[in-house]
Structure formats: structure tokens, C-alpha cells
């Protein structure tokens, strides 16, 4: 039985990658289990400068999903490099994916250059789709020209593979995927959160201080599957499938749609053991479905 898959620059023992923003800098989860069992993980999005993020409440809830408007709170890329990743190294000996956000192209490039110095970073994940940062971010993800330009310039600024993380809040995600592939992206991570809101019935006000937030969890899975399936038809670089994955069956479904690996987001928040449990469950589900090698099922729904 083979669970290992390959992403540009990273050979993974298994396709399970905790998603950015849902796994901190990893060491918090090392209290619960040995995080070296993971394929890899994507750390909390960092930006050139430290960010304090949005006002609270930053969290809301909805049927089978949650909303967040963290606003990219992070200590800044220099502190991530010097403090967070050093803490991480004590408990983790694999490569990590560096999730990078920004408001301007220059910010992204500078942050990527800094984080590329780390020997523990295996790839850059450009978050061009964070819906909670007012100044920018979302703009990059909804316009194919800017997305392509950003990708190209970031590729020039680092030797690491660059994965571009797409926003689902667009009319035509395939068009953006194709544009970033042409601009040199090594892989595509998708999807980031949908934009949503909830209103407090007692006060009549939006629950989130930021009004809108990113909607994630099992509720969004069909949208993620569809978009991965659609983009798989249009690009030839690998896709990291993200959105609502809660168990090993969901992993297989996402790989059938076209994903080479998957990221687990919200599931880690409601159950700190989620990623471990999925890894543990995977061989048994593969057996049940008659799967010997995960590499053979990538994109099976297209056959």
C-alpha cells in the first residue's frame, strides 16, 4: 500500500497537510501528537510586517461550518523565521509550507525572500485570496493579470517551489489557475474560504466585528470538489485540494476530483487530533475501496 505522494520540491509520506491558519506554527499541536506523522503542514499566513488582525468577535458559526475574520494576525515574517520556526524545529524534522500574505506585490516579494532563508521551508504558498484583509489580498486572487504578475515576480525572488492558493469567490477560477500556471506556479492550493456572514438575532448586528468572514468546514466541500475538478482539466501542475475535508473518505473524494495532496483546515480546530486520525484511517479506507497506491487515484473522476 502506497500513501506517499509528490509535490514540487516535497516528497510526502502521505497526502495529509494541515492547512494554513488552522495549525498555528505546528508546535501547539505537538502537545497532542507527534506532528512528524504529517505529510507536511502549511503554517499560519505571515506577512512582511507584524499584524494585529481584526477586532473580535473574529469567529462565527453556521450549519456545518464556521466563519473567521482573523485578519492575518501574525508576528511578521522576521519573527516567524527567528522565533516560530525555531520553536517548530524542536518538534518537527520535515519541511513546512510557508503561507505568505500581503497587501502589495513588494510586500509579498520581500516576505518570500526572508522566509526562503529558512532551511525548514519546503515551498512557498502564496495566499492571494485571504478575504479578511481589507487593504488587499483578495484583489490579487480575483484578477488573473495581477495573480499572474505576482506569481512571476515571486518566482524570480526565490528558489523554492511556489504554490499559489486560489480564492473560490470568483466567476472563473479556471482562468486564474491557467494564468498562474503560465506565470510559473509550481502547484495550486485550492480553495481558500468562501465569503460569508452571520447576524446576531438579539442585537441585529453582524456577528463578526469585520462584518464578513471566511466560511470553511464541511459545508463548503461540494464547492471545493467542483473547483478542483474544473481546474484539474485546465492545468498540468499538481493541485492541493482544500475545503471541508473531515475524514479519510473526503481525502479520497478530493483526490478523485484531481488533487495530488490535500489540506485539512477547520477539522483541526474542532478536533485537535483530526489530521492524525485521518492519517490513521487512510489505509483502512484505501483497503475498503480497493486502492493500493494513492498516486493512481488522482483525477480518477475524469476517467
Amino acid at each position: 500500500m502506497n500513501l506517499s505522494v509528490t509535490l514540487p520540491g516535497m516528497k510526502l509520506d502521505n497526502p495529509i497537510i494541515p492547512a494554513s491558519g488552522c495549525f498555528g506554527f505546528g508546535y501547539e499541536f505537538a502537545e497532542y501528537y507527534d506532528i512528524n506523522i504529517l505529510g507536511s503542514f502549511s503554517f499560519k499566513g505571515t506577512t512582511l510586517e507584524e499584524r494585529f488582525g481584526n477586532k473580535t468577535p473574529r469567529i462565527a458559526e453556521s450549519t456545518s461550518g464556521m466563519l473567521n475574520a482573523i485578519g492575518l494576525q501574525n508576528p511578521g515574517v522576521n519573527n516567524v523565521l527567528k522565533i516560530e520556526l525555531e520553536k517548530l524545529k524542536k518538534v518537527y524534522n520535515k519541511k513546512v509550507i510557508a503561507n505568505i500574505g500581503g497587501s502589495t506585490i513588494e510586500d509579498y516579494i520581500e516576505a518570500v525572500k526572508i522566509i526562503s532563508k529558512s532551511d525548514i521551508v519546503g515551498a512557498i504558498e502564496l495566499n492571494i485570496s485571504c478575504p479578511n484583509v481589507k487593504e488587499g489580498g483578495i484583489g490579487f486572487g480575483t484578477n488573473k493579470e495581477t495573480a499572474a504578475k505576482l506569481t512571476r515576480l515571486v518566482k524570480e525572488a526565490t528558489n523554492l517551489p511556489v504554490y499559489v492558493k486560489l480564492s473560490p469567490n470568483v466567476t472563473n477560477i479556471g482562468e486564474i489557475a491557467v494564468a498562474v500556471e503560465e506565470a510559473g506556479a509550481d502547484a495550486i492550493s485550492m480553495i481558500n474560504t468562501l465569503v460569508g456572514m452571520r447576524i446576531n438575532l438579539k442585537t441585529g448586528k453582524p456577528v463578526l466585528a469585520n462584518t464578513y468572514g471566511g466560511f470553511s468546514g464541511p459545508a463548503i466541500k461540494p464547492v471545493a470538489l467542483k473547483m478542483v475538478h474544473e481546474v484539474y482539466k485546465q492545468v498540468s501542475i499538481p493541485i492541493i485540494g482544500i475545503g471541508g475535508i473531515m475524514n479519510a473518505y473526503d481525502v479520497i473524494e478530493m483526490m478523485y476530483a484531481g488533487a495530488t495532496a490535500v489540506q485539512i483546515g477547520t477539522a483541526n480546530l474542532i478536533n485537535p487530533y483530526a489530521s492524525k486520525e485521518i492519517i490513521d484511517q487512510l489505509p483502512q479506507v484505501m483497503k475498503e475501496l480497493g486502492i493500493k497506491d494513492l498516486n493512481n487515484i488522482i483525477g480518477r473522476a475524469h476517467k
Binding site: 498555528g24 501547539e28 502537545e31 468577535p57 473574529r58 494576525q73 474542532i270 485537535p272
Partner: protein
């Protein structure tokens, strides 16, 4: 951080207020004021519900909660012997200080965690009084439990239907209560009002939580020095660091 707890009892003790005793792992609880995070099986309650530990012994822990929305409503209907998926213990809890005369200040569903504090103070032979604030007489609970620990207990209600009339600060002032340190838990308004006074102590805050164990940054709370995650570096903050 053990996961499965069995409901031993779940009973109404005041207006919409329930006391639930759970059987399960309690050995990691290290301070009064820590909380647990309960998974409630319903599509509409996707996130866990944080509730303070009211009391615990070697094999059981007790919580007291008020029915507020859908999650606590479902919780209130949970039957004996149901198994609940719970993360426990979470947060820092109160750090007991060794001063002469202390005050516990609780408001509404902020009262429960103070009972563990009281027990700890008794154990350490620290003198303390208790001030409890509620909206009205139907909301009052735990008064007797505090009294049975031998403390002076002052109850006040906003509408004066039980005990004194007014908020906890009104009461502290009108009774001229002396204390050199306090532990408080209650609505944010009450906590902020306390911080504005000259008293020194610790306060337990609430924030909407994505995870409850430090992973999502959902519960960040600005303090005078930095951001703290209410679920991890909180819920208890020092009065000196609270930003108003």
C-alpha cells in the same frame, strides 16, 4: 487532554441555569478558572462550547451553565449517561495570590469558576468574602455553596428582588468591603468597571472561540502589553494588563 466524559447528572438549579456533573479525566486540571470545550452533536452547533469548570475531584467535574442559544439548549436536554466529547482542561485559570483578605466577585454565569477559587482559598487558609451579582432573584445560584465554605456572601440583584439592589461595584462600595486582592468573572461590562476602580486582581474574560486551544487566533484579546489568546494565555488576565 482527554476526550470522553459521561454525564452523571444535569439538573436545573436556577432560571435557565443547569448544573452538570461529568465523569472523566480530571488529572490535568491545574488551576481554578480553567475551562472545558464541549462538542454538541448538531449541524447547527459546529463549534465546541466553552464552559468554565465549577468544581472537580479525582474522577468528576462539574459545570454550571445557562441556556443562552441553541448549543446550551441542547446541552440542557442531555440525558444521564450520555457520552460527551470534551477538551479539558483549557486556559490558564486563576493564579492564587497569598495576600491577607481577598474578594471573589462573580456576575451571572461568571459565578461558577469562582467556587473552585474559593475552595482553593479555604485550603490555603486565605481569608475572603464573596460578592455575587445577578439580574433578579430567579437567577441566583451557588450562594449556599459559598456560604458552606464559611465565607461571608453578599448577593445583589439588578432589580433588587433578592439581596441588595444594584451591581457588584455598588455593593462593594456601599458595604465598604475591604480586600487587598480580587478574582472576578462575569460580563465584560462588569469586568471593565472593576478594572476602572483602583482594586488589584485577576479577571476571567470571554471571547468567541474557533478552537479553544490556541490554534486559530480567533480569541485574541488586546492587552496593554500584547495580544493574548483568551483560550490559551487567558481566560484570566491581570487587572493591570487589561486594556479598556
Amino acid at each position: 487532554m482527554s476526550n470522553l466524559y459521561t454525564v452523571l447528572s444535569n439538573e436545573l438549579i436556577a432560571y435557565k441555569t443547569y448544573k452538570m456533573v461529568l465523569h472523566g479525566d480530571t488529572k490535568n486540571i491545574k488551576a481554578p478558572g480553567q475551562f472545558i470545550n464541549i462538542k454538541i452533536d448538531h449541524p447547527n452547533t459546529f463549534l465546541r462550547r466553552p464552559i468554565s469548570i465549577n468544581d472537580y475531584d479525582e474522577t468528576t467535574l462539574t459545570i454550571i451553565y445557562k441556556v443562552f442559544g441553541e448549543g446550551t439548549e441542547i446541552l440542557s436536554k442531555t440525558k444521564r449517561f450520555t457520552t460527551l466529547d470534551i477538551l479539558s482542561p483549557l486556559g490558564n485559570g486563576f493564579t492564587i495570590k497569598e495576600t491577607k483578605k481577598q474578594l471573589l466577585i462573580g456576575g451571572g454565569v461568571g459565578v461558577p469558576p469562582l467556587y473552585s477559587v474559593a475552595k482553593e482559598l479555604v485550603k490555603r487558609n486565605i481569608e475572603f468574602d464573596v460578592v455575587l451579582g445577578f439580574n433578579n432573584k430567579y437567577d441566583v445560584f451557588l450562594e449556599g455553596m459559598f456560604r458552606s465554605l464559611g465565607a461571608n456572601v453578599y448577593v445583589t440583584t439588578m432589580d433588587g428582588t433578592y439581596g441588595y439592589k444594584g451591581n457588584v461595584i455598588d455593593l462593594i462600595k456601599s458595604k465598604n468591603l475591604y480586600f487587598d486582592y480580587y478574582y472576578a468573572c462575569g460580563p465584560e461590562k462588569m469586568l471593565h468597571a472593576l478594572v476602572k476602580e483602583d482594586y488589584v486582581g485577576q479577571l476571567s474574560f470571554e471571547e468567541r472561540m474557533g478552537c479553544g486551544f490556541g490554534a486559530c487566533m480567533g480569541c485574541s484579546h488586546k492587552t496593554i502589553t500584547s495580544y493574548k489568546r483568551i483560550c490559551k494565555e487567558g481566560p484570566v488576565l491581570e487587572s493591570s494588563e487589561v486594556l479598556l
